[in-house]
């Protein structure tokens, strides 16, 4: 059993030794390999675009935001105008009442 095992080991070792002598690939594959790798790296990096490359997509949202701010500002200013005029009207009425009561 041990002798047979030794024989198998010997055969296996000889097979490995012979296989090691073989060059299992075509050396032509290595030609220009670094160029291919760098091209792939550059292409992958191109896929990760910087933030400003997609910033233009925000333009419609920004336009809507500006329009809403304009409308809001107009409404607020208009409301303030109404408030001021009504306050001015009240003040005017009070002045007239005081004037009529005092006879001035």
């Amino acid at each position: 059993m041990t002798v047979e095992n030794d024989r198998d080991d010997d055969i296996l070792e000889r097979l490995f030794a012979a296989a090691r002598k073989s060059q299992p690939h075509d050396a032509n594959l290595e030609y220009g390999f670094e160029t291919r790798v760098m091209a792939k790296i550059t292409a992958q990096r191109g896929g990760q675009k910087p933030f400003y490359s997609w910033a233009w997509r925000l333009i419609p949202a920004l336009v809507v935001a500006v329009m809403m701010m304009g409308a809001w500002t107009y409404i607020i200013e208009h409301k303030q105008f109404i408030d001021f005029s009504s306050i001015a009207g009240i003040n005017n009425e009070e002045t007239m009442l005081v004037a009529s009561l005092t006879g001035e």
Partner: protein, 188 residues
């Protein structure tokens, strides 16, 4: 008189790459591509497979270059990445076991082999076909120990397994390989 041009060290090229000089990484690829191709060829099924493995290994190295601490030489770190890529590929293939082609090559392993390319190629075909029937971890350990002639310590370092684990796996893998070769011989 011109001063001899100094070859930049790996460390210098790594620093240059990290500073944004891709040409430096291209030089690293040029420097180590042969070694990685030779190793990966022991695992690849064909040339396309081989090119894919090597590209993936170098791209992973580029992406993880910041993590390279310089404790071991760049060559070792790079080989470790290539071994991992090969192991992942073997595991993927083992899930689709039926895809592995098996070419029957007439090669008598009982006969002493004369040195030469043709017997080497024949021997490699026999070993490759037998290795294709092994589990990924068994194939990895046999390839590194017996074909790439790495030591147990080197194999453990490259695979991330303990030395004891490498020895146990090597013993089992060898036993299984002998059985496969014996069966193949019986079929012929």
């Amino acid at each position: 008189m011109n001063a001899p041009q100094q070859v930049p060290s790996d460390e210098h090229l790594i620093k240059a790459t990290l500073s944004g000089h891709d040409d430096a990484f291209s030089e690293l690829v040029r420097r180590y591509k042969q070694k990685i191709f030779r190793l990966a060829a022991r695992f690849a099924r064909d040339n396309d497979d081989l090119d894919d493995i090597c590209q993936e290994a170098f791209i992973k190295a580029y992406e993880n270059l910041k993590k390279f601490r310089g404790d071991a030489p760049f060559e070792h770190w790079m080989t470790k990445i290539a071994v991992n890529v090969c192991y992942d590929m073997l595991r993927k293939q083992s899930r689709r076991r039926g895809d592995v082609p098996f070419d029957s090559v007439a090669f008598s392993i009982g006969e002493p082999q004369s040195p030469g390319n043709s017997s080497g190629d024949e021997a490699w075909h026999v070993v490759k076909n037998a290795l294709a029937k092994l589990r990924p971890e068994d194939r990895m350990v046999i390839t590194l120990l017996n074909l790439e002639e790495k030591s147990v310590r080197e194999t453990a370092s490259l695979t991330g397994w303990s030395e004891a684990n490498v020895k146990v796996r090597a013993f089992r893998a060898r036993k299984e390989l002998k059985r496969i070769l014996e069966d193949d011989r019986g079929e012929r």
